[in-house]
């Protein structure tokens, strides 16, 4: 009964989505207030019904209803309850439903947080969101019904892929989808503005917090996915340039460019057409990502579907949305007009360089991701593009962007004098160069790569701090605390996000240069040394988990010369339902790096093939990402984004902190 109610709720939701787009867009086009007024209540209704459908599916999973095909294929009664709940989005059908849940949640948020915006504009935004929601709801109803019954019911479910039975899996997809789908709001604002013929600083100010929020969630989602791969796949990599990772990284690159170009549009009224185009591109890439991952074009843990109807539906929908948006852009953008001019050295020009570099980098990822697919589709042979390509392209493209990132915040709008910049930054430059030259020696080995990577990170950090100090000392308030309190939160957010980038670079540079790895055979009692740590293999024992049995290895690890030691317990699990083997690495996390042990294959006499790693500063990579996201959330809480009216401003502030 519950699954049928869920299915029914989805049908109602699809009808509501159609109504939301048709009524609101017609109302906005003809200027009929009564039609425009339907947008908000219908958006609320859409959210309620989609959430009800999701709750019904989650209930079926948690209550082990194996008469539902989706549950029977992706869950198992031995699965712990929290993983049964997470299995709701562990299948193709469920994850598309999660997509729609996120979309309707964002629409709902727009409908309650937009009271200060003109009615007609809100109607158009919600209308565009309705079109997207309708597209995905019909996709679910026509090709991927999550509530399909299995008659007769299965005795037992086939289990969730063991790779996905992990706390990271519970939180990674919702975060990633919040980000992916969040760009739909930026997209809807851009389309509404094009329809309206109104693209001004006010539009950028309305659009900015939504874009930043989506970007923050996407950043966290990608970082969680990377962290999950690091500890779950058992070979210690944190980014593989896998097409599925690229599918989430491309919208991130475009979104990062968008966040920055929105700043220019808001402050200076320039880059208007470009900003709109970026908003369209960022969301289009989210759709492309969904297509790549969900159509079965790529085959990996994420690609559940091989039904060609699904791929074709998404492709047609993609064509319709992206093509329509670009056509509208081509038609309307020439009327937008140019903003104020700026000189060759100014904050605008640096942000323009940042945008161009980010978009070129995005294009390079797109090429590397799609080219093999095209070749395969045209039957011209199978090729793959490996990490060396992406690394060879990324480092030279991102280096100038990162260099400018340190200067940009200090440069003034419109025009900046180079001698002035030099005076303000020479200490930061000197300190970063000297430290970068010396620090690799302290870490053990000097190489140009390490010195250069560290210099970039230190340069960004030093310039950011120099900027902060100058800003505090120039503030007119009396007393240091008052000066600190006087700075806007958005500025602190930017500073924090930029420091996050610096931390990220430190992590990447040091782990790439100083990681130590050994693969060897170890019998109980054997010792092995890696990067100044001594690992002693004590042996293995069998333990039983809730739905698996496991061979657990015990390792004693001590720093050479130290007296106390740490116990590390890597596992090799065999899951009952699927019989699948899983390697669970043991990781000892520290501020200056991780120790990482994973078990390979057993050999004779209790000996095992073993992998031992020392990964210096690897956690800085994810720490940096979280700082970036935190910076974004801080910026969201800025007073500037609060609405004119008292009532609306209270709501906006509540939502900003609530989401943070």
């Amino acid at each position: 009964m519950i699954p049928e109610l869920g299915h029914f709720a989805l049908i109602v939701a699809a009808a509501l989505a159609v109504a939301q787009s048709a009524l609101a867009l017609t109302g906005a086009a003809t200027g009929r207030a009564s039609l425009m007024a339907t947008a908000r209540p219908v958006a609320v209704g859409l959210f309620v019904f989609v959430a009800a459908a999701f709750a019904a599916l989650a209930y079926s999973f948690v209550s082990n209803d194996f008469s539902v095909l989706n549950v029977a294929s992706h869950s198992n009664s031995q699965l712990p309850a929290h993983y049964r709940f997470a299995a709701t989005w562990g299948s193709h059908e469920g994850s598309i439903l999660l997509w729609v849940v996120m979309l309707s949640a964002w629409s709902f948020a727009v409908s309650i947080l937009s009271r200060h915006l003109p009615e007609r504009f809100v109607a158009r935004v919600l209308g565009v969101l309705g079109v997207i929601a309708a597209g995905f709801l019909f996709f679910i109803l026509l090709t991927s019904n999550p509530f399909e019954r299995l008659i007769p019911a299965a005795e037992e479910g086939r289990d969730l892929n063991p790779l996905l039975q992990d706390p990271g899996m519970v939180i990674h997809p919702p975060m990633l989808y919040m980000g992916y789908v969040g760009f739909s709001v930026a997209f809807a604002f851009a389309i509404a503005a094009l329809l309206e013929g109104r693209l001004d600083a006010a539009w950028a100010r309305w659009s900015r917090p939504w874009t930043t929020a989506a970007w923050c969630f996407l950043t966290i989602g990608i970082a969680l996915g990377s962290g999950w791969a690091y500890y779950e796949l058992g070979w210690g990599g944190w980014w593989f340039w896998d097409p599925v990772e690229n599918a989430s990284f491309m919208p991130w690159l475009a979104g990062t460019a968008l966040v920055h170009s929105l700043a220019v549009t808001e402050k200076r009224g320039t880059f208007r057409s470009w900003t709109v185009l970026l908003a369209i591109v960022a969301f289009s890439l989210s759709l492309v990502g969904t297509f790549l991952v969900r159509s079965g074009v790529l085959t990996s843990v994420h690609a559940f579907a091989t039904d060609p109807r699904r791929g074709i539906y998404i492709l047609v929908f993609l064509f319709f949305v992206v093509g329509g948006a670009l056509a509208l852009f081509a038609w309307r953008a020439p009327r937008v007009g140019l903003g104020a001019g700026f000189s060759a050295v100014s904050r605008e020009s640096m942000l323009l360089a940042n945008n161009v570099l980010l978009i070129v980098a995005m294009g390079a990822v797109l090429l590397g991701t799609l080219y093999p697919l095209f070749l395969d589709a045209l039957n011209l042979g199978k090729v793959s593009v490996g990490p060396p390509y992406f690394e060879a392209v990324f480092v030279p493209l991102m280096t100038p962007a990162l260099f400018l990132m340190a200067i940009g915040p200090l440069a003034s709008w419109k025009r900046v004098a180079l001698p002035d910049l030099w005076t303000r930054l020479r200490w930061a430059l000197a300190i970063s160069v000297v430290t970068a030259l010396v620090a690799p020696l302290a870490l053990g080995r000097w190489s140009p790569g390490v010195a250069f990577g560290l210099w970039l990170a230190l340069w960004i950090a030093a310039a950011t701090l120099a900027h902060a100090l100058q800003r505090f000392s120039n503030a007119s308030q009396r007393g240091f605390a008052a000066k600190i309190a006087a700075q806007p939160l958005a500025w602190y957010g930017m500073m924090l996000a930029h420091l996050g980038v610096a931390a990220f670079i430190v992590g990447v540079t040091l782990v790439k240069s100083f990681e130590a790895e050994r693969e060897l055979r170890m019998a109980p009692g054997d010792r092995a040394a890696v990067a100044g740590y001594e690992f002693t293999f004590k042996g293995t024992r069998e333990i039983a988990g809730p739905n698996y049995t496991s061979v657990q290895g015990e390792f004693d690890v001590r720093r050479e010369g130290a007296s106390h030691s740490t116990v590390m317990l890597p596992e090799k699990r065999v899951y009952h339902a699927s019989g699948q083997t899983m390697t669970e690495a043991a990781i000892d996390t520290g501020f200056t790096g991780d120790l990482y042990v994973s078990l390979g294959e057993p050999v004779e006499n209790g000996a095992w093939g073993v992998r031992l790693y020392r990964k210096p500063f690897v956690d800085w990579i994810w720490g940096g990402c979280f700082l970036m996201a935190l910076g974004g959330f801080l910026a969201l809480a800025d007073r500037r984004y609060r609405a004119r009216s008292r009532e609306a401003s209270a709501e906006l502030a509540g939502a900003a902190t609530g989401r943070a």
Binding site: V356, V383, A392, E519, L520, Q580, G609
Partner: protein, 155 residues
């Protein structure tokens, strides 16, 4: 300098920078493409001798042997028509099994043994790497779809 000349210069500089970026990207792309060959193609010398490539197929049943150090593994990859011996040093992914699909990246040695630098880990035991499936199809033995339908098939 007239503003117009100045603007033209900026545009030229911008286009030049984009050109450099594009050539960088395409050059890196060209030198990092990894092609795929089936065991039959490798056996008939169609694969490059001086460049890394990928092979795919099934791990031949009974062909896996380990050296004493527990880390060097030898096995044969077959597309049912021809087989290629492979040697790999390192720990194998969880889903490496005899009789299952496999994709390996590496170079062919002068002795005709494929020296793999990477054996690809796949995420699902029922999953057939598309390259491996393709190799079997080309050799005239398409695999039974149902056996490798993966986790989404109807029970």
């Amino acid at each position: 300098m007239k503003p117009r000349t100045k603007r033209a210069l900026w545009i030229v500089a911008g286009l030049g920078a984009l050109g450099v970026a594009a050539s960088l990207v395409l050059n890196a792309f060209q030198s990092n493409l990894v092609f795929f060959f089936t065991p039959s193609q490798v056996a008939s010398n169609e694969a490059p001798r001086d460049r890394a490539f990928r092979i795919g197929g099934l791990v031949e049943a009974g062909s896996v042997t380990r050296d004493k150090d527990a880390l060097t593994v030898r096995f044969r990859v077959t597309d049912t028509a021809r087989t290629i011996p492979v040697v790999y040093t390192g720990l194998l992914p969880d889903l490496f099994r005899e009789g299952k699909g496999v994709v390996a990246q590496g170079r062919i040695g002068t002795d005709g043994t494929f020296r793999a630098t990477e054996v690809l880990a796949k995420h699902d035991e029922n999953y057939m790497p598309p390259e491996a499936a393709d190799a079997l199809r080309k050799a005239g033995h398409p695999i039974d779809k149902a056996a490798f339908a993966g986790q989404k098939g109807k029970p």
